[in-house]
Symmetry: C2
Subunit: 366 residues, 2 copies
């Protein structure tokens, strides 16, 4: 299943950065929210080591925003998530599972209170806008829903703060994690948040003017030359090591947040009107699956992602990768809880792995 080309069309939308991404030598994309997401420039492992040491610029325009404005925006946002949104402050991002009536995961976005009565949902890979529109029509809510022309560009890695400060100035270091400021580039104010889909530190620039995409890209590369800046993208090795979940990979709408270890993002006892809370209260502690980590001592090639024991499927490998840093093969596995029990090892295709909680705790593993 390697080395297949991607057929690119209007349906796999290019971004305002695509020309620069192409010129920078992208070798692979994935499609995410019907949009091109660059995934590789060199090799995954080369990109990984570079990300851990230097700074990368990622075209993550595919993190489409769904914008919700209007008198009922607050009510609608709360209907969609079991996380209590009353504590959000303007400019703050909240990781907020969106869940349906059965408690199932619709998406796991960052929601941002962009202004009073104006929310952005920075989505993972499912058409949240359609769910929102269905709810709006069905409940008869007074909101405007749109996918604004906003294209996030991530700057990730240990030198990201230095680079973003060079570009946007001294206000950058004061931005706290998951907070943002409106900062100026070439006369245009845009949101700059300390966030991103790696645990190597960094920022996301929510570009709101496509005509500035190439100047922004070019300026980051000009200012970052001595920082060894390179193009990149969400890196499988880094994200699995860091235990960052990917909707559609590690979990789907067949799963609920408890199964993914997202308990901390559910305000189970809050007095809020949320579509999923009644179901989640009923499910809590009785959920069927649990996402756990497996640690293999050797590099694995799986013939089948399903884990079968005694003719019964007891789990499925959802994401996995060889960690060149820890010299372990790491897998994120959705297991049946009744089989999992308290067991601390599991044998897959003849190889025994340690069962661990996510995110991986390498001090304990190594």
């Amino acid at each position: 299943m390697n080395n297949k080309y991607l057929s690119i069309s209007h349906r796999t939308r290019p971004t305002p950065f695509t020309n620069r991404v192409e010129a920078a030598g992208v070798t692979a994309y994935t499609v995410y929210n019907h949009m091109l997401l660059p995934t590789a420039f060199g090799g995954f492992e080369e990109d990984y080591w570079h990300l851990c040491e230097h700074v990368q610029v990622w075209d993550v325009s595919c993190q489409r925003q769904v914008e919700i404005k209007g008198p009922d925006s607050e009510r609608l946002m709360q209907l969609m998530t079991p996380r209590d949104i009353r504590k959000a402050v303007i400019g703050q991002g909240l990781y907020a599972p969106l869940c349906g009536e059965r408690g199932n995961l619709i998406n796991d976005p960052i929601i941002i209170k962009f202004a009073q009565g104006d929310w952005w949902i920075s989505i993972s890979d499912s058409d949240v806008k359609l769910w929102v529109k269905g709810l709006v029509t069905g409940f008869g809510l007074d909101v405007q829903v749109s996918e604004p022309d906003v294209w996030p560009l991530a700057v990730q890695g240990p030198k990201a703060e230095e680079l973003v400060t060079r570009l946007f100035g001294d206000e950058v270091p004061g931005i706290r994690f998951f907070r943002s400021k409106m900062l100026e580039f070439q006369g245009k104010k845009m949101m700059v948040a300390r966030s991103g889909f790696s645990k190597k530190g960094g920022f996301e620039i929510y570009l709101n003017d496509a005509s500035l995409a190439e100047p922004l890209w070019d300026e980051l590369f000009r200012l970052g030359e001595d920082l060894h800046v390179k193009p990149g993208g969400p890196n499988l090795i880094e994200r699995v090591e860091s235990g960052l979940l990917s909707y559609g990979n590690d979990m789907t709408d067949a799963h609920n947040p408890f199964e993914c270890g997202l308990d901390a993002f559910i305000d189970i006892d809050a007095d809020i009107e949320s579509i999923s809370l009644p179901a989640l209260r009923a499910i809590a502690g009785k959920h069927e699956h649990q996402l756990v980590g497996l640690v293999f001592s050797k590099d694995m090639v799986f013939e089948d992602f399903r884990i079968e024991v005694d003719n019964r499927i007891v789990g499925e490998i959802r994401s996995h990768v060889w960690s060149p840093r820890y010299k372990k093969h790491l897998a994120m596995v959705m297991m049946k809880r009744d089989y999992l029990g308290e067991r601390d090892t599991l044998t897959v295709e003849g190889v025994t792995a340690r069962v661990v909680d996510l995110p991986f705790d390498f001090d304990a593993i190594i």
Copy 2:
């Protein structure tokens, strides 16, 4: 933008046919409904001529079904489409635009009345299931919504009827266009419809048992050897020549059905409860865009898909291809109606093209 690899993961779901597709030498995929859709085995042109002469097997599992069952299923289906569904008979497919409150296109599926009170929506590339779930929650409807384990396999081309008859028997030729029968393969009944995303004739087999995917694929290739059966996929040359619309390419949710020439599928005066009808009645005749064809006498490489006249964007090229049969470059273009007027030529990047209605009428063009 050519020759970029696709990063494949759980999120770009493989299908029960993927192993066979890989073994058959697929060279390119696209991602459609979060699923792999094979697009090329040889070259597009080689695949095109073969499709026009022989028979191809296409893994179109990505045409996911959204199944809607329950007491309110009929009402929900009608809410979603401005096409009057009361005339549907069991086993019949209807091309039915799904439209939101503003009349905008959410999707353009084939809807199938699978049984009384049981509908399948055979979707194009947007998460219809999420829209449905939003409507169900908001309106408080009594239906069950699911994405059943059904994987359509298309058999397309002038010899398709012969091949499908060899497989399923003498009931096949009697299936009328967009109708279906439940026919048996290895003891399992599955829907076989005369349909598919080409105008070369053919069938879609709605496989409902993944364990039969490889036997079904193998049997088609065994029975079709003397018919020169080959693997294939929706072919850009064939679909543009035939004027088949592709949601996300030719139109998006920024457009309404009038703009796409889908007037015939809107029962504008019907006494039905449909979310979009009030808006569509108001829009009719006053819509902003029109999808038309452009015919160039030479092969074109477009620098920019936007068509600009006097510093104003008056249209956008959405799909285009060189037709080796007609020796014309064909484009499907979303034009501003106020600019389009009655003009019968348009100059794009210095080359003059004829403006024609869709689908292309080659008797008139050549």
